[in-house]
Amino acid sequence: MEHTLDVAAELKNLAVIRHFIEDSAKRLGAGLNTIEDLIQAVDESAANIILHGYKGRSGKIVVEIRKEGSALVVCLRDQARPFDPTRVPPPDLTLPLEERRLGGLGVYLTRQLTDGMSHRVTSEGGNELTLRKKIR
């Protein structure tokens, strides 16, 4: 079973996306912690698309969630400029605070909260970000 949401890429729709993920993940049999982690990860990813991908330009985000084996898989598709968040290096937590790199908190949290993240440029030149979360 697959659930799909198609919304305008606007910050006010982050709540709509979170509710969609919560409802869909429940229907697909995920537990509370899995759902909460996925909501946060998808919110961070969608906010990055809106703020750093579209940068105020109009567009849309398509969110698709499905169950694959013992995991939930979420795909976020957009028509923003190509950007691969998986190439954002993780922060080195062993460095002194003042030496840590700038940016990337949302991507860092997304990595922390999921079991896999991949990206591809679509045939239309947009982005498809796939998040995988084991059902616990």
Binding site: L14, A15, D43, A47, L93, G103, L105
Partner: protein, 136 residues
């Protein structure tokens, strides 16, 4: 998200800033603006009541950090620099030493977000209002 402000009196006047609902990229600047209003009126101590805060994204964490910086009389960070903004708060003080901003009663989901972002150690977290107010 709704924000309400009440005043409490401990050894010093404390503004209790309560956030009801989701704190995300669509509204985190409203929270910073409210804290600026409080600061302008001369109140230098804020207790951020997270009892009814159901969700905090990385943008919300940046808002919390920005309020801490504001109350310390420092220039607000560039909120585009999420990770650095969060951790800049710990550059000059030891963990748990934020004297002007403390947190009240974050719910488990929000508490996990604070922890995963590495922010939890930088703030005193209380579970009781009167104890929190008296701690300033």
């Amino acid at each position: 998200m709704n924000i309400s402000v009440s005043q409490a009196q401990g050894r010093v006047p404390v503004a209790v800033l309560s956030v009801q609902g989701d704190l995300d990229a669509s509204n985190y600047q409203d929270l910073i603006a409210k804290a600026k209003d409080i600061h302008r009126t001369g109140t230098g101590h804020i207790l951020l009541d997270l009892t009814h805060t159901s969700f905090v994204s990385s943008s919300g964490l940046v808002a919390i950090h920005s309020i801490a910086m504001l109350l310390r009389g420092e220039e607000l960070p560039d909120t585009e620099h999420g990770w650095a903004s969060i951790h800049a708060v710990g550059q000059k003080l030891p963990p748990g030493a934020q004297p002007y901003l403390k947190l009240l009663n974050p719910q488990p989901k929000v508490d996990r977000t604070l922890e995963k972002a590495g922010l939890k150690g930088f703030f005193e977290i209380h579970t009781d209002l009167s104890t929190a107010v008296a701690s300033f």
